[in-house]
Each structure stands twice: as C-alpha cells, then as structure tokens.
C-alpha cells in the first residue's frame, strides 16, 4: 500500500468508527458516497499533496458523522419514532386492550404491532395469534363441558392445567415481543 492509499484508508477507518452508532445501511451508504467522491476527486491527481487537499476539503470524519446523525435524527423512520414508548404501548394494547374495549382494543394492539418498526413478520404473527391461541383451549374445554352428559360432575381439576396453558400462550409471545424490541432498539441506537 503506497502512502496516498494509506491516507485514504486511514480516513475511511476514522469515518467508519465515528459512525459506529448509526444504522448499518446509513453507514454503508455514506461510506460508499465518500468512496465515489474520493475516486472522482483523485482521478487526475494522486500525489500526496492533492490527496491531502481532497481529504481536507471533505472535512473531519467526525463532523460528517455528526451531520449524518443530525439528518437522520430529524426524520423518524416510517412515521413511527421507534421510541420505547411505542413498543411498550403496542404490546400492552395487544395484551390488555381487549379488556378495556372488547375486541376493538385488541385489534388496535394488532395494528400497532404490524406498524411497529422492530418486529419481523414472524414476530407480528406470533403477537397476532397469541390471544386466539390462548382462548382456543378454554373455548374447547367449555364446549366440551357443556356437551357432557352431567355438566355439574365435570372435572373441575381440568380447568387448572388448561388455564395455565392459556396463560402461557398469552405471556410467552408478550415477553418475546418485548425482548425482541429491546434488542433491536439497542442495536439501532
């Protein structure tokens, strides 16, 4: 590696480090833009003084990273600000919304989970199906009991494991959504 290549490589390294907290796509794009700029600006003069001047005019990598941070901070992604509050509110609406406004509250939770920036399609389906899956065994049990020949002698002890199963079916997806959101939130910032 000759000395001008080294100057450029060092500059890129500094820029890359200064942008460490930016989303990977943003980082890659900015590095690509700077690469094209350097290639273009040094096409005709690759001596050390010219390269130094090009780098000097580009400015301190930390300043460019700061500008990138300011620009991306002014534009929340996809209309949701990606804040902790949104993630928690979405999961709470999904979990408890139905108790406050039957069905509609739950639907609001589902919509929020599908619009949230943190979850994959699989995560969203897990959230959507949590309540239906949790209610299914209870509904089946109640249907079974009402069809039984002697309803009052029905096995009350069956209610306990079925109730626990239902609770697990609603709690596990809830915890999953919150943990995934926390992990991706940390990666984004």
């Amino acid at each position: 590696m000759n000395s001008t290549d080294k100057l450029i490589a060092d500059y890129r390294d500094r820029l890359s480090r200064a942008m460490a907290d930016l989303p990977p796509a943003r980082r890659a794009e900015l590095l690509g833009d700077i690469d094209v700029h350097l290639a273009e600006a040094t096409t005709h003069a690759r001596d050390q003084a010219s390269v130094l001047q090009v780098l000097d005019e580009l400015g301190a990598p930390e300043g460019i990273a700061e500008a990138a941070r300011a620009e991306s901070g002014t534009r929340p992604r996809r209309g949701v600000d990606g804040a902790l509050a949104y993630d928690v509110l979405a999961v709470l609406a999904l979990l408890l919304g139905g108790f406050f406004v039957p069905l509609v509250g739950w639907i609001a939770g589902v919509v929020m989970v599908w619009n949230g920036p943190r979850w994959t399609t699989a995560d969203r389906w897990i959230g959507t199906l949590a309540w239906p899956a949790a209610l299914a065994p209870l509904v089946a049990l109640l249907a079974g009991l009402s069809l039984a020949p002697q309803p009052d002698s029905g096995p009350v002890w069956v209610l306990l494991p079925v109730g626990l199963l239902s609770a697990a079916l609603i709690l596990v997806p809830t915890v999953h959504l919150l943990r995934v959101a926390a992990r991706r939130r940390a990666a984004d910032h």
Binding site: L30, D33, T43, E57, L58, I64, A68
Partner: protein, 137 residues
C-alpha cells in the same frame, strides 16, 4: 441581547447557511441534474455550504429519503461511475414554496435592518431632523 458579540452574529449566519443549504442544492438541481462532486464545487463557489464538503452527503441522503431528489448511476468517460441527482416533482414544489417564503423573509429582514441603520445615522447626525427620514419609507 444587549451584549451581542461579533461571534454571535457569525454563529447566526452559519445557522442560516445550515438551514438554507438544502434549498440551494434543490435550486442547483432545478437547472440540471448534477453529480455530487459537481454540486459540492458549485456550492463552495457560492459560499452557501455551511460546513465541510463531506457533510453534503448526509444532506443528499435525507433529500432522497424525503423524495425531493432522485438518483441514477451513470458511467463517466473520465473516471469512475457517478451518482447523479435530479429534482423530483415534490422537490420542485418544495423549492417553489421556499423561493416565495424566502423572498418575504429576506425583504422583511432587509426592511428592519435598513430602518435600524437609518435611525443610527439620524442619531449620529444632529443636523438631520428626526421624522423627515421616515417619510422615505
């Protein structure tokens, strides 16, 4: 405010530059599409760029994300491929709004600055009766 220092004025001007450079970029692209290195040198020539050249790239990314400019890659005869930026319809609308608002803003600030300037001159010139100068406005 009574102790406004020259440094404060410089800071205000650089904040103004930061706030208007996006529209200077849109205005340059309104003439014709340009590639980034070209944009940078045109902006540097016109003194509109607030910070170092490299800060143009985050700005251009944001303008593209906001749908005000669009990009295309084109081969270049003299060097590596270039990313060309051009104004979108949204960008043109945004620029038109800014042109109108900026003209109002500039005129209003000019009027206030010149009035102050005139009054200062009146005060330092005792032969000039107060009041006659205001009729000029």
């Amino acid at each position: 405010m009574s102790h406004m220092e020259p440094g404060q004025a410089n800071k205000s001007i650089s904040e103004l530059r930061r706030g208007t450079v996006a529209f200077c970029v849109l205005a340059l692209l309104d003439e014709r599409e340009r590639y980034a290195v070209e944009l940078v040198s045109d902006l540097a020539g016109s003194d509109a760029l607030a910070a170092s050249q490299g800060t143009i790239y985050p700005l251009l990314s944001r303008l593209r994300d906001d749908g005000l400019v669009a990009t295309t890659w084109q081969e270049s005869r003299s060097g590596p491929p270039r990313k060309y930026y051009r104004l979108t319809d949204d960008g043109r609308r945004s620029l038109d709004v800014f042109r109108r608002d900026w003209a109002h803003f500039r005129d209003a600030v000019d009027r206030l600055l010149h009035e102050g300037d005139d009054r200062d001159r009146t005060r330092s010139d005792p032969d000039q009766p107060e009041g006659t100068r205001h009729e000029q406005h």
